[in-house]
């Protein structure tokens, strides 16, 4: 019933588009078309889009073990969408952002994404968080033709345009992060004996594979932990016994805290190098305080630790992007302070607005996907490096820089380094640092 009436609506909509186009046919040559101008009217061009709204959906762990930190991301996304809505929305449409809790359980993820797509009828899913969780829904979203943009995980599963034409990654994948880290260590610590501390899944595996391209001869020990097992003493002692004086950690924040505390207990003091995921000083500091029952009260243990960055965060309060996030966060009036997780959410929301603008005034779901493929690599946003999007590549940011944590801020050690999967060269990015537009809202040209 609803289905057939929806079909009727889309038929009527298509017919209206056709007649409007025909009517405008004469005027178009007059040159009014550019800049998403107002000659066309807004229409309900696909599921989840009305004349004045666009509905987007997402899944995050708001409860359970993965909730600390990650549950802040959607509040950042919401804050930036509120900011855009207050400034007129996208093509006059207000963005409605619906996000739900999956407690980091794939069974729940598939259930709530079913609900978002079939009942709430969202236009697209964005920023779905987690590798196992999101892996449960990519098949469904691709078979239903729902754009699945900017998955919040660095797994390489999302870059598969053949099998998953509607799915796009966003952050730099773990392999190119491993490569950049590996090269930095090989160049700056050529005599170091390197130990690897890895999460036992594709995160650790891809990261290690990237790092091994440069460090094969320097690696003296590789240790893996199973997420959920909180005793990492065997792994850390094995690294110590092997004489590793530089440890690369591809791990999540709670294991940064656990590895630091365990090393402290064992009197083991190598140079630590944590990948971007595991290095948020504020969260690690809070976790250190909790795990040590107050004996370690802040992130001072992380002083001097090396890490990578690919978007500006709260450690650089003078960065114009951070200032924009700060402004949007304050205007949204939500509780709490701007954190790196909220900045991450806002950066994703910014990319989403760029994608919607590029998709044109009355986009279909396929238009949105085409917009990311065609225009995505040109977008200038908060990311240090450009995206790698194209018709045969659905991977996100192409690079990052290496930095050193000092207190609550970080000091950049390298320029932005860009590369690609496999044995692609690592190069310095030849681009000025981007700044946000005056209004704080992107202004992308439609692709068609």
């Amino acid at each position: 019933m609803t289905r057939s009436s929806r079909r009727l609506v889309s038929f009527v909509a298509a017919a209206t588009v056709a007649t409007t186009l025909a009517a405008c046919g004469g005027g178009d040559s007059g040159g009014g078309g550019g800049g998403g101008g107002g000659s066309e009217e807004n229409e309900a061009s696909d599921v989840g889009i009305t004349e004045d709204t666009i509905k987007l959906g997402a899944h995050y762990p708001l409860t359970g073990v993965a909730a600390p930190g990650y549950s802040e991301i959607p509040t950042g996304v919401q804050a930036y969408f509120d900011f855009v809505n207050a400034n007129g929305g996208v093509n006059g449409r207000q963005i409605e952002f619906t996000y739900r809790d999956d407690a980091y359980n794939p069974t729940n993820t598939s259930q709530i994404v079913n609900q978002l797509v079939l009942e709430d009828e969202v236009f697209a899913i964005m920023g779905g968080l987690g590798t196992p969780t999101h892996n449960a829904v990519t098949d469904f979203l691709n078979s239903e033709g729902v754009p699945d943009l900017f998955v919040a995980s660095g797994s390489r599963l999302w870059d598969d345009p053949e099998e998953k034409p509607y799915t796009f990654g966003w952050q730099p994948d773990y392999e190119i992060e491993g490569k950049i880290i590996g090269q930095y260590v090989a160049e700056n610590f050529p005599d170091a004996k390197v130990g690897l501390f890895l999460q036992g899944d594709d995160f650790g595996e891809d990261g290690a594979a990237g790092a091994r391209q440069f460090l094969e001869d320097q690696i003296v020990e590789e240790q893996t932990y199973v997420p959920g097992n909180t005793d990492v003493r065997p792994q850390i002692s094995a690294l110590q016994a092997a004489g590793a004086d530089l440890v690369l950690g591809f791990n999540v924040p709670s294991y940064t805290a656990l590895s630091q505390l365990t090393a402290l207990q064992l009197g083991y003091d190598p140079q630590w190098f944590y990948s971007n995921v595991g290095s948020d000083p504020a969260l690690v500091g809070a976790l250190l305080a909790r795990f040590s029952e107050g004996q370690v009260s802040d992130a001072s243990l992380l002083d001097g630790v090396l890490t990578t960055e690919y978007i500006p965060g709260v450690d650089t309060p003078d960065n114009p992007w951070t200032q924009l996030w700060q402004r949007a966060w304050e205007e949204s009036g939500q509780e709490g302070e701007l954190t790196n997780f909220r900045a991450y959410g806002m950066s994703q929301a910014y990319t989403m607005v760029q994608a919607l603008q590029s998709a044109g005034q009355n986009p279909t779901r396929d238009d949105l996907v085409a917009a990311v493929e065609q225009a995505g690599s040109e977008w200038e946003g908060p990311g240090f490096a450009p995206f790698r999007y194209s018709e045969d590549k659905h991977a996100g940011y192409s690079g990052m820089l290496v930095s050193r944590i000092t207190g609550t801020t970080a000091e950049d050690l390298t320029p932005v380094l860009v590369t690609d999967n496999g044995d692609a060269e690592i190069e310095e990015l030849d681009r000025e640092a981007t700044t946000p537009p005056e209004s704080g809202v992107p202004d992308e040209e439609p692709i068609n």
């Binding site: 289905r3 909730a67 794939p106 069974t107 196992p132 899944d201």
Partner: protein, 387 residues
Amino acid sequence: MSDLQTPASSPTAGAATSDAPSTATAASNASSAQAAGGRTFLPRNTLLRHLLVLVLCAVGAVVLLETTDLGFNAQVGYVAFYAIAAGGLTVLTGLNGQISLGHGALMAVGAYTTALLLDAEEPLPLVVVFLAAVALTSLVGAIVGVAAARLHGPYLAGATLALAVGLPGLALYYRSFLGGEQGLTVSSPDRPEWFTDVIRSLSGGSPSGVKWIAYISVACLLITYFLLANLMRSRVGRTWRAVRDQEVAAELAGIDLGRWRVLAFVVSAAAAGLAGAVLALVVRLTAPTGFTIVLSLSLLTAIVIGGLGSLLGALIGAALLVFLPRVLRDAGESLDMDAAQAAEISYVVYGVILVLVMLFAPAGLVGSIRLAWMKQRARRAAGGTTR
């Protein structure tokens, strides 16, 4: 007419036994025919009666799936796999008095079997895949059951808890085979031609993959409940109750306690295996994070809230597992909470409901209604004789 069938249900019989049947398992004791009262329209023969109910439920399910939208169809799949697993667990706990905190792990066995078999180049027919999942899980259940039959109370809970915690870890150790943390994606089986034709002629709606999976799930649920209901009303079910209520008396009557306990575990595991197979289809992924201890515990809460030992109770409990968090979350959001608060509040309210049921309706929803109904009937009968 059927008082003879249900010795435990009359108050006098209950008083005659010293420490058993507790009210907690009241839901499992009344026969399904008796529930219709003296003037029943259902046949007396158990098999015929269950067949009739099965057909009625099947018709009802088709009507339900065809009159609701796809979103609801999708939810039905979730209710189905929770209900199948809860049905198996309610046989084990309600009828045989054994507790299991490891049914989530048994579901994982069924789910991974299904995922691996469907991943083949030329996948076997779905029925064969499901039977293989059931068979393998039954085997695991038999092994666990042999250990479980020797254990009681907290020791049994502990042993099965170890299963729930340990088994999903295997997927992490055998990464290349079982997919590790990110899990195995399950390819959806193709829907056959006849299904498309039937749905078109039935309601004119387009038969999507979601609908096909919903029908498979409901079919599995109905078949499982039909088989379990027959088993519960048979000699097997009576023996299980005897083992549960009076070990000594049962042993004196020639019942080998251990063997019957293992059998109960195997039947229960088979149901969990099928539930896992359905879960694999519905969720389209099997990953260790989907089979944590939380899954096992939520199955247990489902059968406790619904009423131990009652299949209807298990179904109600499963439906609550799927729909209650949604309802609570939507209620929370309509009270202007943000999504995170609404998600948290739904757990709190769920916990409160569980505590309230334990306090005020220890026999669960179905058990309490049945108890109240039996009390009233007894009072009426007593009133009749004194007058």
